[in-house]
């Protein structure tokens, strides 16, 4: 029997260098409280990781971190808090007598055969195994809760504990910034990873979710993804691995090229959006490497409060965690 703890980390560097975390908290990489929780073609890497674990038969999946709901219904902001909760969760797994627990931080997105990883860990016979890929160590461990115990700082304990090293041969994206996020999107389109868009492929490379409204004169050229409830007005052009996520609205005559429009975003009339990630009134332009806030609501704006999106994701993850707990 094996369980899993998924930490919704905001940045792979955050806990490695606590001081850096404070200085970079408003920077490029920590945008939108963690790229791993940002939807890419209908679903966030965080939820995809949890789902793949569920499919692999992991019996209990706890998702902790920036999206953990506090008692008052707010979101717990600190990753350190998440690791404290993870230590408690690990103790709970110990009481349930599980022989292995996967602990991962979705600051990066990893596709691996979970059962093979567990088997590798069991064969090593050590209390802790840590995964690595061609670029180095990953924040992915398998621990034996009966032999491994951390009082408070679970992450630090994991890092200093002598661990067996398990190679991950699947797709790995460290998601260190918007550029990596866009790379994940293009990798999904070109089938370089196992992720498939949450939509129907109406034509090769053209994915449309339910409830989309595309005007007759608008052109959506593959590869492209249009999410649930998206409206594309007349004379728009969506092309070159662009994604328009849930409930966004692209207004008349706008061209979107090699860009991602995140959920609930309004993109105004006659614009030319390229090499960018847009979230509400914010643009991250990868070509100029600049982050820009658009204060003009006629140009860009959020269509509904951002918290709604987070609440929806929390609900999704709660559901996922509950269904996996029921299996225990």
């Amino acid at each position: 029997m094996a369980g899993a703890i998924v930490i919704a980390g905001s940045d792979p560097q955050v806990s490695e260098h606590h001081i850096q975390a404070k200085t970079t908290s408003a920077g490029w990489d920590c945008w939108r409280s963690g790229i791993a929780s940002t939807p890419a073609l209908g679903c966030s890497p965080l939820v995809r990781t949890a789902e793949s674990m569920k499919r692999a038969g992991l019996t209990g999946i706890s998702i902790l971190g920036t999206t953990t709901v506090s008692e008052k219904g707010g979101l717990l902001p600190s990753e350190e808090t998440a690791w404290l909760l993870a230590a408690k969760e690990l103790k709970a797994f110990q009481e349930k007598n599980l022989d292995a627990v996967v602990i991962t931080r979705t600051g990066h997105y990893i596709e691996c055969e979970w059962q093979a990883l567990l088997e590798q860990h069991r064969n090593f016979g050590q209390a802790v195994s840590r995964a690595f890929d061609s670029q180095g160590l990953l924040d992915l461990w398998v621990v034996d809760p009966r032999r491994f115990y951390a009082e408070e700082d679970l992450l630090m304990t994991l890092r200093v504990t002598q661990a067996a090293e398990c190679a991950v041969k699947g797709y790995v994206n460290r998601l260190t910034g918007a550029r990596d996020f866009r790379r994940l999107v293009t990798d999904i389109f070109s089938f370089r990873c196992q992720v498939r868009p949450q939509a129907t492929e109406v034509r090769p490379g053209l994915w449309l979710a339910e409830g989309t409204q595309i005007a007759r004169s608008a052109r959506v050229v593959a590869p492209a993804y249009i999410g649930y409830g998206v409206k594309i007005a007349d004379d728009c052009l969506i092309t070159r691995c662009s994604t328009v996520e849930t409930n966004s609205y692209i207004d008349f005559g706008t061209a979107i090229e090699d860009s991602s429009v995140l959920p609930d975003t309004y993109v105004g009339i006659g614009l030319d959006l390229s090499h960018s990630v847009v979230d509400g009134g914010e643009i991250l332009n990868l070509h100029h490497e600049v982050r820009l806030r658009i204060s003009d609501p006629v140009v860009m704006r959020r269509l509904s409060p951002g918290a709604q999106q987070d609440r929806q994701m929390v609900a999704e993850m709660k559901e996922l965690a509950l269904s996996s707990t029921e299996k225990r």
């Binding site: 959006l273 643009i283 600049v290």
Partner: protein, 135 residues
Amino acid sequence: MLTSGPVVIMQLPEELNVTEVHNFMQEIGPLLESNRPRIVLECSQIRSMESAGVEMLLRCLEEVLKRDGDLKLAALSPQAEVILELMRVARVFESFPTSDEAARSFNAIPADAIPQDAPWYSTIFGDLGALKQAS
């Protein structure tokens, strides 16, 4: 305001919102009404620009072209570049890496195009040739 011969170089403010646009238009207004205005707008300070800012740039360009002048942008900040590209006006303006280069570009012949050992009258003929080509 800096002037370099007949070319006027002006610096745009950090934020080009409605208020700043209003203030800037009051400053640049008399210049736009002069004969053949030659203006360089230095954009290195721009951090954010609303649609009013883009509209102002287009209006300035329209006014100077009406009076047979020209308006050029210099030292565009990445933020300004993103906004101009987003609003599809980046190609409307001639832009240069520095305001000096933008100011020099108003001359028909670049100084380094004339050989140093050329006779004194070659510059005059050069200018006339350029004028002929322009006409």
